[in-house]
């Protein structure tokens, strides 16, 4: 049985996904509220995995919570914290709850987060994690043992079109497809011309790509991303545009920019992944303004 995300992509519909970030603590009320508001507008909701190496509720627990409420989680798995035993165990664990959507990432280094003394694992990487999921689906584990019941996933990965150089990204994208990637969500893209060039290079791979959008909160955030976030580049015009409005109008401008970017790039790809970073309340507005509903 296909997940709504897989079904949408197979049917050639422009798939819209968004995401929630589990909180640092057990109070999930706000996160659940956000997810419930999103679900009518999207076919899948990513759950980030200890994003930025800042300790939070586990992605698997959060995905189970969402799944039990029919909120279509996309299980993001990084390789930073778990060895091949734990990763396989969590893949099987996700499967018994009917979680189908999977996004395999390498993960931010522990040195970037709030527990810098932690021991990083990185035993697998995004490519071998995808391969591991594929192997489990075939009825065996990584050691070649037969499984008592095998999982079935819709497997995805990430690519960053604005990376410089971008060639290594495209190389790795091919490897991820070989390892079993069936869809891609991109890191945030803000330059339609550059995205078009990128998509021309990868459309031949035949795997659907969902363009990533991170809602710009202010000019400072855009500048910060340019300086500190790899694979993301916000052009000067957009920074100026964000800076041109008063504080009270920033959210409105952010939605306007996001919607415009989606309209400009939607013909080049198969969907959009909206990362609200706290502004989940305006995601429905972005979707409407981008004429995706």
């Amino acid at each position: 049985m296909m997940s709504p995300l897989e079904k949408a992509l197979k049917e050639g519909k422009f798939a819209v996904t968004s995401e929630v970030g589990p909180p640092k603590g057990t109070d999930i009320e706000e996160m659940m509220k956000e997810a419930r508001e999103l679900i009518d507008k999207v076919v899948g909701i990513n759950v980030t995995d200890i994003q930025a190496s800042v300790m939070r509720i586990s992605g698997l627990a959060t995905c189970i919570k969402l799944q039990l409420e029919g909120l279509e989680p996309i299980f993001q798995m990084t390789c930073r914290d778990r060895n091949r035993l734990a990763l396989q165990a969590d893949l099987l664990g996700a499967s018994i709850f009917g979680i189908r959507n999977l996004l395999c990432l390498t993960g931010d280094h522990t040195l970037l987060g709030d527990h810098k003394e932690a021991k990083p694992v990185f035993e697998l990487d995004s490519v071998t994690l995808l391969k591991t999921a594929s192997i489990l689906e075939s009825g065996k584990d990584l050691a070649g043992n037969e499984l008592q019941g095998s999982p079935s996933f819709f497997k995805g990965a990430v690519v960053a079109p604005a990376s410089e150089p971008v060639e290594p990204q495209i190389f790795k994208m091919e490897k991820k497809i070989e390892a079993g990637a069936q869809f891609f969500q991109t890191q945030a893209v803000y330059d339609p011309g550059q995205f078009e060039t990128f998509m021309k290079q990868v459309e031949g791979f035949g795997v659907p790509v969902l363009m990533g959008i991170v809602l710009l909160k202010n000019a400072g955030m855009a500048k910060f991303m340019n300086a500190n976030v790899a694979g993301v580049f916000v052009p000067d015009e957009l920074i100026k545009e964000m800076a041109s409005v008063d504080k009270k109008d920033r959210k409105k401008k952010s939605v306007e920019i996001a919607a415009r970017l989606v309209r400009q790039m939607k013909s080049m790809c198969q969907g959009v992944h909206i990362m609200p970073l706290g502004w989940g309340d305006v995601v429905p507005e972005v979707i409407d303004a981008a004429e995706l509903a």
Partner: protein, 229 residues
């Protein structure tokens, strides 16, 4: 070589403060090269200990010596007697040397490490030593044309790069650290061998590496056989 760094002086002084007769023992191999625990460093440390000890009004006696290396019995043997006559020994060797020394002398003689052993590496330039080997036990340098993905990639990825490299080809962890995988990528591109990177590299077999039980390398052909008398 093994690269190590000195522990803060006061920390080492506190180790030996309760002991009357202390031997400061250096190592003439790796830690001499990285200026952490060789003859020169033994001299400096011993002088500092003597001064601090006098300053604190303690009646300590400090001896010093440096041997070829502390990871082979033959070099420790000759000074076992002298060491056993002391109350404590400060070993300026890497962890391997500190332990063999501790094994070979009386357990009543305390052995203290003067260094923090950091990594296997090389001298990049005078005064700078860089890690480039993690003793993973299953070398892949032939596949990456001489650039180690385990030690030069901060995450030790077998299929890098991750999405964290900067425009300058630096690692997300530190803008001064090269992204190991971009180095590999660029080298293979230059050599026209990029296609070789398309092959998925399997996860490492960590049972071969130093992260498992204490490693052992055996050469039966080199071992001494007892005579059948």
């Amino acid at each position: 070589m093994i690269v190590a760094e000195q522990k803060p002086f006061l920390e080492v002084f506190e180790f030996v403060k309760p002991y009357n007769k202390v031997l400061v023992l250096g190592c003439g191999t790796c830690v001499t090269v990285c200026s952490a625990g060789g003859q020169k460093e033994v001299d400096t440390l011993t002088s500092a200990l003597v001064m601090k000890s006098e300053d604190e009004g303690l009646k300590q006696e400090f001896l010093q010596d440096t041997i070829e290396r502390q990871c082979d019995r033959e070099f420790i043997e000759p000074l076992v007697e002298q060491a056993n006559a002391c109350d404590a020994v400060i070993s300026m060797a890497c962890g391997a040397g500190v332990q063999l020394l501790a094994e070979m002398i009386d357990s009543s003689v305390r052995v203290f490490p003067a260094l923090n052993t950091k990594f296997i590496g090389y001298t990049r330039e005078q005064g700078v030593w860089m890690e480039n080997c993690r003793g993973c036990g299953d070398c892949v340098l032939h596949l990456t044309y001489g650039i180690c993905p385990v030690s030069r990639c901060s995450k030790g990825l077998m299929n890098g790069p991750c999405g964290g490299y900067s425009r300058e080809g630096k690692c997300e962890v530190d803008s001064e650290v090269d992204c190991g995988w971009i180095l590999i990528f660029n080298k293979l591109k230059k050599l026209g061998k990029l296609d070789e990177l398309k092959k998925i590299m399997e996860p490492k077999d960590w049972s071969l590496a130093s992260t498992g039980m204490p490693g052992k390398v055996e050469r039966k052909d080199l071992q001494l056989i007892e005579d059948d008398a």
